[in-house]
């Protein structure tokens, strides 16, 4: 006699869950649906409580991804991923030969998965979530920050790196100056800013960080220091500090 798999369908869209239920009616001799979940939190809860043998798991959900859900499970059931378009996830599944269904879901393809399940009893048994996510990260172009968020009062402004001319520490604040001459204040220290900013920003003085791509001229100054003329509207002039000499000298190849 065939084993009956207690199943939970997890998807953020009601129609998608309904579709899965309908399609699974064909396989009621193998699969019995015992629950549904519409988001990651609910999924973790229900899996913990109902202890299903099989889970259809949507990858892209608003609160958690399918992978994050798996990571948080103490007991891992059989899992069949469902996904609309995650190209990178698909590549990762293939690398680990993990079963998945593409949306819109095809009946034949679902039947194949069920056949496999019947034959082997278990599958996707020990999913190496970390390995999987590592692969996805590799495939995915890393999301590069392109702007600096500055909080002023109740609003957050995004200042794109390419628009920043330089940053100046004043008192306990840091002023971010744009090419247009606009000034934004932040209460974070210049050192924190230095870490946050991409490599084309360079600290040349105790109280100055400049955008290397927005330097108009560089002049030799007294005692090994340099005078920078920035390419902003006001052609701001900034002199480098003695202690930062070595750092930016190597950066500029001087």
């Amino acid at each position: 006699m065939n084993q009956l798999f207690k199943t939970i369908v997890i998807d953020d869209e009601p129609a998608a869950r309904r579709l899965m239920r309908n399609l699974l009616q064909e396989h009621s001799d193998v699969v019995e649906i015992i629950g549904e979940a519409s988001n990651g939190k609910e999924a973790i809860e229900k899996i913990g409580k109902l202890k299903p043998d099989l889970v259809f798991l949507d990858i892209q959900m608003p609160d958690l991804t399918g992978f994050e859900v798996i990571e948080k499970l103490s007991e891992k059931p059989n899992i069949i991923f469902t996904t609309a378009y995650e190209q990178y996830a698909i590549k990762a599944f293939e690398t680990f030969s993990i079963d998945y269904l593409l949306k819109p879901i095809k009946e034949e393809r679902l039947a194949q998965s069920i056949e496999k399940l019947k034959k082997f009893g278990r599958f996707n048994q020990s999913i190496d979530v970390n390995g999987l996510q590592e692969i996805i990260r590799q495939f995915q172009a890393p999301k590069k920050a392109t702007a600096l968020p500055i909080k002023t009062g109740d609003r957050i402004n995004l200042i794109r790196y390419e628009n920043i001319a330089y940053l100046e520490a004043q008192d306990k604040y840091v002023c971010v100056f744009t090419l247009e001459g606009q000034k934004y204040l932040t209460d974070q220290s210049l050192t924190i800013m230095e870490e946050k900013l991409p490599s084309n920003f360079c600290r040349i003085h105790r109280s100055y960080i400049i955008n290397k791509e927005k330097i108009r001229e560089m002049h030799r100054h007294f005692s090994g220091r340099y005078l920078f003329v920035m390419d902003d509207k006001a052609l701001t002039r900034i002199t480098s500090g003695r202690t930062y000499q070595d750092v930016f000298r190597s950066e500029f190849g001087l």
Binding site: L19, P104, P149, R155, L158
Partner: protein, 394 residues
């Protein structure tokens, strides 16, 4: 000791040369001279032309036969020069102002450069000849043997010649000016053309094609609705078709009216509403008189898409999306609010947000502002300061 004839002549020739140089200098600077101190263009030009005329005529003095007579025969050099300057004054005032009128009149008529120049040349020569008649009379009176029209034909011929000279100088200057303008225009055209091409290419790249993830999910929903709720399936198919037609942008427009953009946002939200059955609600508010203003095409889509994504993050409650477009104190104000979790202080913009900055940079450079707010409600605020109206749509 009296200077010799040669010495006198040498001094006079040197003087003439200096006057020639001065005249040429003034001619070259004609358009910019006294621009600050004298506001009236006619008066300014009159003065400059008079100065040029005095310089040139003085410098040409040694080429006239009367010069030698005045200098060495009857000792009337002073009177000769006074007369020459007087003649220059009369000549310049008369010839210049008549030509000025002719030029002004012609600029209104739509004539080719060649025709216009011919008429002006002709006018200058005629004026120059006409002034020679009284000048000949006066010349005879003060420098010659008494008032008469003696040797009028010689003066006429001489003034015909000077008229030609003045005219040709004018024509040459106009031609050089025309060429310069032509080149400048060409260069400018080239620059704008290149800019347009660049903008177009960049916008093409930015026109966020509808997220494929969204498409496949919507189709998956339709696969279910086709069986469970035919009417909804139909509604969703039509909405998807509308959205795609808009996103394909077959007419290649960079701008859309606010009305169109909001309609598309509504279509998009309608699809999401069907997809997430009763988990999503939306409202759209638009000041009626703003509907025909132009904004970058697909400016709203990424923002609304983000709002839905963020709104749904807070599970277990109804997601409320509100789009408001109104006339702010600082131009147009577009606000997209959702009731999801607050924006983090360390906001990293994704592709969608970056694309709205890029679109506004290209189409409203320096005239927009975007910020993210958490209080009193969570929303993205876009201000566009200078607006264009779609005239043809009104």
């Amino acid at each position: 000791m009296k200077p010799t004839q040669f010495e006198v002549l040498a001094v006079l020739v040197l003087f003439s040369t200096l006057m020639l140089v001065a005249g040429m200098y003034l001619l070259a600077k004609m358009n910019s001279l006294f621009k600050r101190s004298i506001k009236s263009e006619l008066l300014r030009k009159n003065i400059v032309v008079w100065m040029i005329a005095v310089c040139i005529i003085t410098s040409l003095a040694p080429t006239t036969p009367q010069f030698y007579a005045a200098a060495f025969v009857n000792n009337k050099l002073k009177i000769f020069y006074l007369f020459e300057w007087f003649a220059a004054t009369v000549d310049s005032i008369f010839v210049f102002n008549i030509s000025w009128l002719v030029v002004k009149y012609l600029s209104r008529a739509n004539l080719s450069f060649r025709k216009r120049m011919s008429i002006i040349l002709f006018a200058i020569i005629i004026c120059s000849i006409l002034t020679s008649i009284p000048l000949n009379y006066l010349g005879n009176k003060y420098l010659g043997d008494g008032p008469s029209f003696k040797d009028l034909h010689v003066t006429l011929l001489f003034n015909f010649y000077t008229g030609c000279m003045i005219g040709l100088v004018y024509v040459t200057m106009s031609y050089v000016d025309l060429e310069r303008k032509r080149k400048l225009n060409e260069k400018e055209l080239e620059v704008t053309r290149l800019q347009q091409l660049k903008t177009k290419a960049e916008l093409d790249a930015l026109h966020s094609k509808i997220n494929p993830h969204f498409l496949y999910n919507a189709l998956n929903s339709i696969a279910d609705l086709a069986i469970t709720d035919g009417k909804k399936a139909r509604k969703m198919t039509i909405a998807l078709a509308d959205l795609f037609r808009y996103s394909i942008n077959s007419s290649d427009h960079n701008y859309s009216t606010i009305k169109e953009e909001l309609e598309m946002s509504a279509v998009y939200l309608e699809i999401e509403k069907i997809r997430f059955e009763d988990q999503l609600n939306y409202s759209i508010h638009l000041d009626k008189d703003l509907s025909h203003y132009l904004i970058p095409r697909f400016l709203l889509q990424p923002v609304v898409e983000n709002a839905v994504k963020h709104g749904l993050k807070a599970t277990g409650k109804m997601t409320e999306i509100d789009i408001t477009v109104k006339n702010g104190s600082d131009g147009l104000q577009i606000m997209v609010a959702d009731n999801g979790p607050a924006f983090p202080d360390e906001l990293t913009p994704g592709y969608g947000v970056k694309s709205i900055y890029d679109k506004l940079d290209l189409l409203f450079p320096g005239n927009y502002e975007i910020h993210f707010k958490n209080q009193p409600e969570k929303k993205v605020v876009m201000n566009i300061h200078k607006l264009m109206k779609n005239e043809s749509a009104i």
